[in-house]
Amino acid sequence: MSVPTRAPAAPRRSWVLRSGFLRALPFLAPAIVAYVVFVLAPMAESVRLSFFEWTGFVGTPQVFVGFENYVRIFTQDPVFWTAFRNTLIWVVLSLVIPLTISLLLAVALNRPLFGRNVFRSMFYIPGVLASIAVANMWRWIYNPNYGIGASLGKAFGLPWLSDIQWLGNQDIALYSVFVAFIWQSVGTNMVLFLAGLQAVQKEHLEAAKIDGANAWQVFRNVTLPALRPMTVVVTVLTFIGSIKVFDLVVGMTGGGPAQQTQVLALWSYQQSLGNHQYGMGNAIATVLLIVTLIIVVPYLIWTARQEDK
């Protein structure tokens, strides 16, 4: 009796070959090269420079100082911790206020209502304006002699309103700039949430209503969970955008008064290009990078695990 024999097994191909990565590589290559040249390389150079003392002028020597720049920014720089605190405040407020407003606007403008597209456009348009234009506009709004506060104060006999120094009072200047940021940013996130809301299945909403859920319960138990992927995107984008806030601050206050609205990205820029202290400026930039990675990477991993469940 003959024993059936199996055909010899084909050699196992590596994961790289099986996944088609090599086939995709020629198409990915230009983007990878651009990413390395314009993102990774400058980032690496910035981290490298943080260990040197350099004025930034081509031809002048770069002197290796080890961790001295980091010691200086943490222990001697009179502005660093103010900038760090302000950046933190900005991030927290960004994740709470404009995000919430954007979500509410998206929910409101997802319904069929008269003029819906006009409203959507109205809220979106500030997001396409250049930040420096927004900064200039709001500087005039806050002008202590001709701005809205001054004008309304004079019109209604409210001298306290005219006296408010929106950008000159260090206790409120940062928040005054933040109001301009809310005005500029809610529209963009609203559009993202609107896109996410289209993924909410109408059948689920109707089924919840049939089961007796009220509006809040429907929103909390059906809409919000369905919006989770988009919420992750909006949250990450908002976090990254807020931690590197620069344009509005430089345009509206320049970091003043007395560096009290200073933020890490702007302070890094001013140390490097303003004070010719490239080492310290890049040390601040590296701190910003590390903080960003520490928060964003675990959040993305956690969110991915939640979705797998």
């Binding site: 004025t55 930034g56 002028f57 081509v58 031809g59 002048t60 200086r72 001697q76 009179p78 502005v79 500087r139 806050y142 002008n143 202590p144 002699n145 006296d163 120094q165 929106w166 950008l167 000159g168 009072n169 260090q170 206050t253 320049g254 003043g256 008064p257 007395a258 560096q259 009290q260 001013q270 290009l273 303003g274 004070n275 010719h276 202290q277």
Partner: protein, 421 residues
């Protein structure tokens, strides 16, 4: 396939041709030379007209040299120089303030060609005053060619002064403070500054510091040879400065830029401002009747005129230093100096160009005795201090002005920063 190869070959050839053309920019095939010149933007019609005439005059008399001019705002100009000097993108010639804090940084970074041979060739040592030459030779070689020497003093509105019962400009610091009180009593804002550009309000602090400390201590402080935390005059200066910001400054100054604050002066909403002699032209450009404006030296008691010097520098990376020197020789020759004097009121650096008071308006004339009687010049502190020190000087200045730092602690805090550098 053949079509693709042909297209690729043509595209490559076109790119090579463009690259070669770019490489040869600055030297036309007929031997003409192009040099680049970076300067501050002219913002008023008279300055633009004077510059256009000067440039035309040079190019007409030097048909083989073309000057490509790039103009920027104050801060834009500084930033462009910081990033371009030492690279192939640097200009052939650039204008800069000459003090150690700005021009000195460029010289230290190797951004200035030693012009000793050109000083000999064109006999420039005889063309400029000793004061102008001191700004050229302060770093040990011949850095730049003088462009201007500006004085900054207190501009005042004569009508507002009269309304407050002030019959003559103050000649002492005490009289100045008394006049400020009179203006307040008459319901007039004594002085305006824009707080968002730190260098504007800085002028007040610098002058008060000179008043309290005197020339010798002031100079030592700026050179970090005296201790800011130990000199009593520093505390006195910050206390006086604090008083000015609380009692005499325009409302909302911290939120205003210099131009927004100066608009109040143009409108007659503030009685004084510390500005430079270039401000005469700014007033005219804003339709202010200069007959109603006067100027007096801040009464520091030292006879030193507050101001700065500026030079035009040739970069070591320039491929056309001879042409650049030819350009600077023309700029400082009698004809263009006279054009600027007649049209803009700019004081000439060429000692052979004399100011004719009969051609000046009343405000320009007021500067003549100020310059003539000045015993010396003391520079704006953002030119005397290093860049990092200037940033901290401004921060402390603003903390004192906004009541967030006691004046008695300001000097010590600044000295601590200096010691850590």
């Amino acid at each position: 396939m053949r079509t693709i190869r042909t297209v690729a070959a043509i595209a490559t050839a076109a790119m090579l041709a463009a690259g070669l053309a770019a490489c040869s920019a600055g030297d036309d095939s007929d031997g003409a030379t192009t040099i680049t010149y970076w300067k501050l933007a002219d913002t008023d019609a008279a300055s633009k007209k004077a510059w256009a005439q000067t440039l035309k005059g040079f190019e007409d008399s030097h048909p083989n040299i073309t000057v490509k001019v790039q103009e920027r705002s104050t801060d834009g100009h500084k930033e462009a120089l910081r990033t371009a000097l030492g690279t192939s993108g640097a200009p052939d010639v650039y204008w800069s303030w000459a003090g150690p804090g700005i021009g000195g940084e460029y010289v230290k970074a190797g951004g200035s060609l030693d012009l000793a041979k050109y000083y000999k060739k064109y006999d420039w040592n005889e063309r400029f005053s000793p004061a102008s030459m001191s700004s050229v030779k302060q770093y040990g070689k011949y850095d730049g060619v003088p462009s201007g020497q500006s004085g900054a003093a207190v501009f005042y509105n004569k009508d507002l002064f009269a309304k407050a019962g002030i019959t003559a400009p103050p000649t002492s610091y005490k009289e100045l403070v008394d006049d400020a009180d009179k203006l307040v009593a008459a319901g007039i804002t004594p002085i305006e500054f824009g707080g968002t550009v730190n260098w504007h309000l800085m002028r007040l602090l610098d002058n008060i510091l000179m008043t309290e400390c005197g020339q010798k201590t002031f100079t030592a402080l700026v050179a970090a040879k005296a201790d800011w935390g130990k000199e009593d005059c520093v505390t006195a200066a910050y206390e006086q400065f604090h008083t000015w910001t609380q009692k005499y400054l325009t409302k909302g100054w911290a939120s205003l830029s210099d131009s927004e604050a100066n608009a109040l002066f143009f409108k007659g909403d503030a009685a004084m401002v510390i500005e430079g002699n270039w401000f005469d032209n700014v007033l005219r450009a804003n339709d202010v009747d200069t007959a109603t404006i006067g100027v007096f030296m801040f009464p520091t008691g030292t006879g030193q005129l507050y101001g700065d010097t500026s030079n035009n520098y040739i970069t070591p990376t320039s491929k056309h230093p001879d042409a650049a020197a030819e350009f600077l020789d023309y700029l400082t020759s009698a004809k263009p100096q006279k054009i600027s004097l007649d049209l803009v009121g700019t004081r000439p650096v060429n000692v052979d160009v004399k100011i004719d008071p009969s051609t000046q308006d009343s405000l320009d004339k007021e500067w003549n005795p100020i310059f003539a009687d000045a015993k010396g010049l003391f520079a704006f502190n953002d030119q005397g201090l290093s860049l990092a020190q200037t940033t901290e000087y401004w921060r402390i200045q603003n903390l004192v002005a906004t009541n967030d730092l006691e004046p008695s602690k300001a000097g010590a805090q600044f000295q601590k920063f200096i010691d850590q550098q």
